[in-house]
């Protein structure tokens, strides 16, 4: 092999490594460094103090906020997994032509390529006090008064997150389902397996890597979310991301940084946990 051929992969990988190094690795190290700094109401000071962590870890508010964020993560994960799996299953096993599969998959993907903020705003005319749903419910005589909990509530937060993040579950599961050898399913049926048995003994085990990747996406997106929580709860609910965003807007960067380090640790532990249960290397 010539020298250029041996050098080629390094030159090709250099831009990627450079960008991720400068804009991901170094910023994360900066967060770690600043989390030990001191601050007042105007600026931050280089120092080595641990009270940012003490304030974060020994505060009842932080723990409650973490529990609340984890609650959102679990609920949204369960719903997106259920919805995502069946949507992917329908596309993979019930749609017979590749062209139709592609079209329907694109139909699911297009909203993902539009603005999250607009998609959140779009729930207002539907869920609001005078919104479509409340008008319909009142008119049908199901409720006497418009329901207040539909918009600006934890219900709205979960609904919006499911709306925004289900595609992250659909895509990887669809990808794994498409790779399942159809002969396996035929063989299971020939051997006398019922539809339910095929699902639980053949399809689900083979879909695990896709489910794991989707779960990693959804859980990390929910754990770091602040804009959905802020907007859809109308300030009535909390999440770690929102707590950080508030600290950032008060210029308490070291406190936000300590929070960020803790959040990153929690997210990485969850991801490592998922990867322990399911081996996704075959997928990549």
């Amino acid at each position: 092999m010539t020298l250029t051929a041996r050098l080629a992969p390094y030159l090709q990988a250099a831009p990627l490594a450079l960008i991720l190094g400068v804009f991901l690795l170094v910023p994360l190290l900066t967060i770690l460094m600043v989390s030990f700094w001191d601050y007042d109401s105007i600026r931050i000071y280089p120092d080595f103090v641990t009270f940012n962590y003490e304030e974060t870890l020994f505060s009842w508010v932080t723990w409650k906020t973490y529990l609340n964020t984890l609650k959102f993560a679990v609920i949204v994960w369960a719903i997106t997994l259920f919805v995502g799996f069946w949507v992917a299953y329908f596309l993979a096993f019930h749609i017979r032509t590749t062209a139709m599969q592609l079209v329907l998959f694109l139909v699911c993907t297009v909203p993902f390529l539009t603005s999250n903020i607009i998609r959140m705003i779009s729930w207002i005319p539907f869920l609001g006090r005078n919104g479509l749903l409340n008008s319909a419910l009142v008119e049908a005589g199901i409720v006497a008064e418009p329901l207040e909990f539909l918009l600006f509530s934890e219900f709205a937060v979960v609904l919006a997150m499911v709306h925004l993040y289900t595609l992250f579950m659909v895509t990887p599961i669809f990808n794994t389902l498409m790779r399942i050898d159809r002969a396996l399913i035929e063989a299971a049926r020939d051997a006398g397996a019922s539809g339910f048995q095929i699902l639980t003994n053949v399809i689900l085990p083979l879909a695990k890597p896709g489910i794991a990747i989707g779960s990693i996406f959804v859980v990390t997106l929910v754990m770091g979310d602040f804009i959905t929580v802020r907007f859809m709860s109308g300030g009535q609910s909390a999440s770690i991301g929102l707590m950080m965003a508030n600290q950032m807007s008060l210029l308490q960067y070291p406190a936000a940084a300590a929070n960020a380090v803790v959040l990153l640790a929690v997210v990485l532990i969850i991801v490592a946990g998922i990867l322990r249960i399911v081996d996704i290397r075959k997928e990549l």
Binding site: A5, A8, P9, Q12, A13, P15, L16, A17, I19, L20, V22, F23, L24, P27, L28, T30, I31, V34, I44, V83, W86, V87, F90, F93, H94, C108, P111, L113, T114, S115, N116, I118, R119, I121, S122, W123, I124, P125, F126, G128, N130, L132, S135, T166, G195, F217, T220, G224, F226, I227, F231, A245, M248, Y253, A260, L263, L264, V267, L268, V271
Partner: protein
């Protein structure tokens, strides 16, 4: 399932799928309808007449702040991110076809880029610029922040492409005397154009709509999502929906252009193959 006749399972899942699509598009269509609200109409139904007033309102400075400027910045940034994502992911994808020292570490770094919450990237880059004394700007810090989100996606798409790419074509080209560059430009590149268009579409759209990563990194000028978010707190007229309709319409247009380009490339290739 794979049987000849559609069982009840098909109809239940088809209904479920339709509900899912309705769930995805329903709310979006209400704001499109409400953006044509009459001059005295409010943020919810009923429609109080119809008008184009709120669209006209978009272009008056005092009504919505600097919509034109924010749009131009988001558009420029989106194109910058798109071009960078296509080139860098393509190069990265090519690099990973061979083993090289550090490939494992780089791969994990790319995956970490997807897993690290957006707000951390935002905070980290914001702090890095502050500590080093650089001023954050949408075309420097926000540009980098967006790339940490678009590049891993682009790279994963390129992995999927090259996993299915047979080296036989390149070997054939080389046997016929093509140089490495000729092989790439005349054999590999034309074959992977459609997925590259897809990478470009992802790069543009993800950047154009990105909020969390821009929050701490955009500097003194807002991008469009930041501008829209600002509006949600102080604008209480349907002009908000008009803006939503226009930007979503623009996103759809971009998607259509990308899909059109892919179809065109495939057709041309089919024709060339037939000759």
């Amino acid at each position: 399932m794979l049987s000849e006749h559609r069982g009840p399972g098909f109809y239940i899942l088809a209904a479920f799928f339709c509900l899912f699509v309705l769930f995805l598009y329903g709310p979006l269509s209400t704001i499109v309808i409400l953006s044509f609200q009459g001059p005295d109409g409010g943020l919810t139904f009923p429609m109080n007449g119809t008008s184009l007033r709120w669209f006209a309102n978009l272009f008056e400075q005092q009504a919505v702040g600097d919509f034109g400027g924010a749009f131009t910045r988001s558009l420029t940034l989106g194109v910058m991110v798109m071009l960078t994502t296509v080139v860098v992911s393509l190069l990265g994808g090519l690099a990973f076809r061979r083993r090289f020292a550090g490939s494992g570490a780089l791969f994990y770094l790319a995956v970490a880029s997807l897993v690290v919450p957006s707000i951390l990237v935002s905070l980290g880059i914001g702090l890095l610029f502050q500590v080093t004394g650089f001023r954050p700007q949408w075309y420097t810090s926000a540009f980098g922040a967006h790339l940490t989100w678009t590049l891993p996606f682009g790279l994963l798409i390129m992995f999927a492409v090259f996993n299915r790419f047979s080296p036989a074509y390149e070997e054939a080209a080389r046997d016929l005397g093509a140089s490495a560059w000729q092989t790439f430009a005349h054999v590999v590149l034309p074959m992977i154009t459609p997925p590259l268009v897809g990478v470009g579409l992802f790069g543009f759209s993800l950047s154009y709509d990105e909020f969390a990563r821009t929050l701490m990194t955009s500097g003194s000028f807002n991008t469009l999502p930041l501008e829209i978010y600002g509006m949600t707190t102080n604008v209480t007229t349907p002009v908000l929906y008009a803006l939503g309709t226009v930007t979503t319409g623009f996103s759809f247009l971009v998607i259509l252009i990308a899909l059109g380009a892919i179809v065109l490339v495939n057709r041309r290739r089919a024709r060339a193959g037939a000759v």
